[in-house]
Each structure stands twice: as structure tokens, then as C-alpha cells.
């Protein structure tokens, strides 16, 4: 679906921009051509008018006696012969150049054509002429009933000593000009759909070409599932963003794959150790008859190892609950001082085996908002870890104090400590990926601890010195 929408989005944007651009360019081009053609026509009209006036003036001077009106009436057709073909005189289709002469009061003196609608000057024309200015105008002439042609007129006053001697009016039909402009308009309008179709097809082709590797990638990605993380996207040969994307994706899958692999490996190791004990012990014991107390001991041992496995499995379940955010949360006010005391009491039983004492001290009580079960598992996890890594006969100190708006709980042991380079990773799920060849890690316990602290909007810090011990510091916000 993504492909389609990208393709269509691309195409529509592209075509939209193109159409607007084409329109703007088309209109500019059309106007430019139109102006040029009109300019051309107008300069022709002007030249003709000047030429007619020149001829009249020349004749008039030569005659000397005649009034200008007489001269014009006498010689008019002679003068204009060179512009109008006689044969075309009455055929409107062959309408060529029209020449008309008016007196200073705008009364017609002579006209090469006797079309009544053009014999009189319009009021605008007159006012322009009386201001001694030329006046251009387009007039539609009915050549036959219902058929018109547009003719462009130039009325030019011939002025002598700021007085109008007479007025020359020349006209030329705009047929050629109009045909040219109409054709141009037609071409432009015709070209637009062709262009759109062409660009559209090319656009789709190019988009397809670009998106082809993406399509392939999506096909491969669809086949990649949690159980099929070995599949990789074929890296395209191009050195573009698509290749970058493919490589990034492959790297991501690689990371996922190896961390999934590592998690499974770690878990299987973790479970295999107690299983080895159970299996080995039982096999050794079954090889010969034993006394009842020995069997008892074996069973107790086995139960202990089975509990180890149960703990691993339960931890894993809790992690997955936190991960999928489906963990059950039940917040209420908890009085930390008493709460911690009961946990310390519980944990002291665990410590007895290694003769480790958990000492608890607190200054005034703190009430926080929290989930009792989660908080309990948080502290039990940390304390069990502390006992596990403490040297025998050690002491674990649990101290509850206050810092700003937080209850601050410190848990210090005198154990083996955590190497400095490992400290940043101990709360990670995949901690053991980075770490160590050791089989005994913190398991996933610390990852759960972190999740619980986050759930309570608290903070957890860890300080450690090899062979001196580790201190975990937990900050939990006071209930407001």
C-alpha cells in the first residue's frame, strides 16, 4: 500500500506542478506572441498612414490651387492603388487594406470601401484625434450575414501648425493574426494533455524503477518473522538511499537475531546448570542402594535446583510482562520503614547459610506510592544478589534516608564487586552479551529491578569496587 501511495503522491504532485508551470509559461508565451503580432500590425498601419499622408501632401503641394478636400477626392484612388487591389475592391473575403480620409471635423472625405458601419469615427476616436493623438481600435465588420471579421484601424490626424489638416484612417484585417493566435492557443491546449500523459507515464516508470528494490525489500521483510530471522534483504548494487536502507535493515535484523540468539543461549545455560545437577546427582544416586537420609538429601538438593529453574522461568515471565506492558499494577500508600523491615527479616534466613547478616537502619518513616508486590520483588532481587556475591561471614547494610523529595535506599554488600567496565550494562536485558565468559550472571533479575524502579518513577544507581563490594542506591519519590 505504501508503494501505491508514494507513487500516486509523487505523480499527482509532479503533474500538478507541471500543469501550473505549463499554464503560466503558456499564457506568458501567448501574450508575448500576441503583443508582438499587434506591434507588427500597428507599425505597418502607422507606416501606411504616414505614406498615404505623404502622397496626399505631395500632390496637394503640386496642385497648389485646390483645397485639400478637392485634391483628395481627385486623386484618392490613385494614391491608394498600390495598397488595395482593384479586383478585391468589392469582395469582402479579399478585404485587404482599407484607407479612409476624414476632414478635421471627422467627416468622411474618401473611403476605399463603402461599408457603412466603418464610415463614422467613434467618440473615443474623435476625442483622441482632437488631442492630436493616433488612435488604434479593433472593429468587427459583418462581411456576410452572421459572419464577422475583425479589422484593426489606425486613425491618424495629419497636423500642421497644431491644426488638423485632415485625418488618415487605415485598417487591416486581423485574420492572419487571429488564425495564428488561435492556432497557438489550440496547440498549447492540445499539448497540455499530451504532456500530462507523457510525463505521467514517464513518472510512473521512473517511480517504479526507483521503488522496485523497495518492493523487493518489502517482500523479503514480510517473510522475516521471529522464527525466520536468518533471511536477509538483497543489497541493491546502487549506492543510494535504498542501499542504505537495505543495509540498515539488515544490520537491525542482525542485531535482533544475535540478541535473540544470545538470550536463548544465556537462558539455556542458566537452566542447564541446575538441570545438570539434578540429572547427575540422581544418576549417581541410583547406581546403588542408599540409606534413607541420603535419599532425603538428594531430594532436598533436587528441590533446591528445581526452585532455581522456577525462579529463572518466573523472572522471564515477569520481564515479558514488563516488556509488553501488561504487568498488573496496584498502587497504594506504602510505609517504607516497616515494609523494608519485613523484607530484611525475610532475607536474613537466606543469609544464614553463608553466615551473612543483613543490617537495617532508617531515619523517620517515608510514605511512597507503590505496588507492594513489585517493590518486594525489587528489594528481594537486590538482596538475594548481594548475598549471592558476598563473601561468607559478611554484612549487608540496608539504609533508608531522605534526599530531596525521594526516599533513598542504599544496599551495600562486601562482596566480589562488579568490574567497572561492566557497570553501565548490568541493568540491560542482554547484559551477558557484552559481558563475560562467566556462566553465573545476574540473570535477568537486575533487568526486572530496573523495570520496577522505572514503574515507580524512581532512579537506581550502582557503585562498585572489585573485591570490596557493591552498593545499589534506589530513589523512590515520596507520595505527594
Amino acid at each position: 500500500m505504501i508503494i501505491k501511495s508514494i507513487r500516486i503522491k509523487n505523480l499527482i504532485t509532479f503533474l500538478f506542478i507541471l500543469t501550473i508551470l505549463f499554464f503560466v509559461i503558456g499564457i506568458l508565451f501567448y501574450n508575448n506572441i500576441q503583443n508582438k503580432l499587434y506591434e507588427d500590425t500597428d507599425s505597418f498601419l502607422f507606416a501606411t498612414a504616414v505614406s498615404v499622408a505623404d502622397s496626399i501632401n505631395t500632390l496637394w503641394e503640386k496642385e497648389g490651387t485646390n483645397t485639400i478636400k478637392q485634391t483628395i477626392r481627385q486623386y484618392f484612388f490613385k494614391i491608394i492603388r498600390s495598397w488595395i487591389t482593384q479586383s478585391a475592391k468589392d469582395d469582402p473575403k479579399l478585404l485587404n487594406i482599407i484607407v479612409q480620409i476624414y476632414d478635421p471635423t471627422c467627416k468622411i472625405i474618401a473611403s476605399s470601401r463603402n461599408i457603412p458601419t466603418i464610415l463614422n469615427l467613434s467618440e473615443t476616436a474623435k476625442s483622441q484625434i482632437f488631442n492630436l493623438k493616433e488612435y488604434y481600435e479593433d472593429i468587427n465588420i459583418e462581411t456576410s450575414p452572421g459572419r464577422f471579421i475583425t479589422v484593426r484601424f489606425l486613425a491618424k490626424p495629419i497636423v500642421k501648425d497644431k491644426k488638423i489638416d485632415y485625418i488618415v484612417r487605415v485598417a487591416i484585417p486581423l485574420r492572419t493574426l487571429n488564425v495564428a493566435l488561435t492556432n497557438l492557443k489550440l496547440y498549447l491546449l492540445l499539448m497540455l494533455p499530451i504532456l500530462i500523459v507523457f510525463i505521467g507515464v514517464v513518472g510512473i516508470y521512473l517511480t517504479n524503477l526507483t521503488l522496485e528494490p523497495v518492493k523487493k525489500m518489502i517482500k523479503t521483510m514480510r517473510q522475516i518473522t521471529a522464527g525466520n530471522l536468518k533471511l536477509r534483504i538483497e543489497i541493491p548494487e546502487s549506492k543510494d538511499e535504498i542501499r542504505d536502507l537495505a543495509e540498515t535493515f539488515n544490520n537491525m535484523i542482525e542485531k535482533l537475531f544475535s540478541s535473540q540468539q544470545q538470550l536463548i543461549e544465556d537462558l539455556s545455560h542458566e537452566i542447564k546448570t541446575p538441570l545438570s545437577v539434578i540429572k547427575g546427582q540422581s544418576e549417581v544416586f541410583i547406581r546403588r542402594e542408599r540409606k534413607i537420609p541420603e535419599y532425603k538429601e538428594l531430594l532436598l538438593n533436587n528441590i533446591e535446583e528445581i526452585n532455581r529453574i522456577i525462579k529463572i522461568v518466573e523472572d522471564l515471565l515477569v520481564v515479558s510482562l514488563f516488556d509488553s506492558q501488561t504487568v498488573e499494577i496496584n498502587f497504594k500508600n506504602i510505609k517504607l520503614a516497616i515494609f523494608l523491615e519485613s523484607i530484611v527479616d525475610d532475607i536474613n534466613i537466606f543469609g544464614e547459610e553463608k553466615n551473612i547478616k543483613v543490617v537495617y537502619s532508617h531515619k523517620n518513616d517515608h510514605t511512597i506510592q507503590g505496588d507492594e508486590n513489585h517493590l518486594k520483588s525489587l528489594f528481594l532481587n537486590l538482596l538475594e544478589n548481594s548475598i549471592k556475591y558476598s563473601f561468607p561471614n559478611g554484612e549487608i547494610i540496608v539504609n533508608l534516608t531522605k534526599q530531596d523529595n525521594f526516599a533513598k535506599i542504599e544496599i551495600s554488600d562486601t562482596g566480589a564487586g562488579i568490574p567497572e567496565e561492566e557497570l553501565p550494562y548490568i541493568f540491560d536485558r542482554y547484559y551477558r552479551v557484552i559481558k563475560s565468559k562467566k556462566d553465573k550472571g545476574f540473570g535477568i533479575g537486575l533487568s526486572i529491578v530496573k523495570s520496577i524502579v522505572d514503574l515507580h518513577q524512581g532512579k537506581i544507581e550502582v557503585k562498585s569496587k572489585i573485591n570490596h563490594g557493591t552498593t545499589f542506591i534506589i530513589y523512590l519519590p515520596h507520595s505527594s
Binding site: K272, T273, L275, V277, I278, G280, Q281, V284, K437
Partner: protein, 222 residues
Amino acid sequence: MKILVVDDEIKIAEFIKLGLKEEGYVVDIAGDGEEGYFLAKKNIYDLIVLDLNLPKMDGIAVCKTLRSEKIFTPILMLTVRNKVSDKVKGLDSGANDYLTKPFSFEEFLARVRVLLRKNDNFKNTVLIVDNLELDLLSHKVKRGDVEINLTTKEFSLLEYLMQNAGSVVTRVMIIEKVWEYDFDSFTNALDVYINHLRKKIDQGFEKKLIHTVRGRGYTIKG
């Protein structure tokens, strides 16, 4: 036969020790790589059972170091890792065999026997002195046609004497080979066991096989 078990999982080390002990082997335990290396260098073992993942010094390192110091005691490596590459790494570092946890104890014992048999000292699986026979595999002892029942300790003691048949073995040698590392050599346990052994082997026979060499130790000869 003396075997060193190096494993940081105390429970695993302990059941291996128990099982081996009941098969007549003498077993020392080391809880980490350094201790294992120390014991393997200091004492003479017939076999080392070595866990791959150990604190302080891992199994690979222990193995390599021992081999580089010309200690060629057979090593059976144990690990929870069952990837081929891990096995190859273990074997390449100088281990003779490789077993993944959890393992079947019967298989473990069989592999232990194979490694002990391969050891150059034991081309033969049956030791014979005069008409006394000791089968290293079935752990059966016969004098003539009479089968003799021995405790595991007695068996180990006899085995060691018969391996060195004809020559004198000192008290120290016996204690090193037959007893665990932490055995208190100032007790008279050795004399007690020799007496037991004498009773079971020589009593009722004309020809005595076990002899005391005054001031030096013991010997067995036909």
C-alpha cells in the same frame, strides 16, 4: 587412579566426586581455574575433569597453560555450551575429550575410562602379579579363581601397588596417588588399609605378595 575435578558449581563437582569415588577413583576438587591449575601442577593426576567456564581462570586457559608446561594429563572438558565452535575451541586448547552438561553419568564414566586407558601408563586393562589379577574396567580382583571383594579405597591402593609391581612405593607416593589432596598424612590410615588388603589378598595363600620394605614403603611382587 587419581582424578582432579575443576568446577565452580559446587554441587556438580560434588556429585561427580561421589560417583567417581564409588567407582574406586580418588578425586580432588578445585573450585576455580587458578586452584585447578595449581593442583594439576603440584600433583600427578591420571585425569582432569575441567569445566569450561570458571572464575579467575577459564578452562581454556587452564588447559593451554598446563599443556604449555608439558603437563599432558588427559583432560575431559565439561561445559553447558554445545556449539561446535566451542567444542573445537576446547579440544584445540589441549583437551582430550568434551562432554556437554547435562550429561549422562554412565557416559561420563565410560569417557573417563577411555581417557584413562589411552594414557600411556595403561596399555593393559588387566594388571597381573603372580596369580593375582586386577581388572581396571570391571573393577574385579581375583586371586587364582577366587574373587576378592575390595572397598574402593582398597582397590585404589592395590591398583597403585600393582602398577608399580616389583618396585618399592613410598608412603608419600601412595598418599599422593591414592588419597585426596586434603588427606592428613599423619594418621595411620595407610597402615590400616594395607592390613585390610593383606588380609584379603594374602590370607590363606602360601605365597605372600604384599611386602613391607622397612623404612621405605611397600611393594608387591610375585
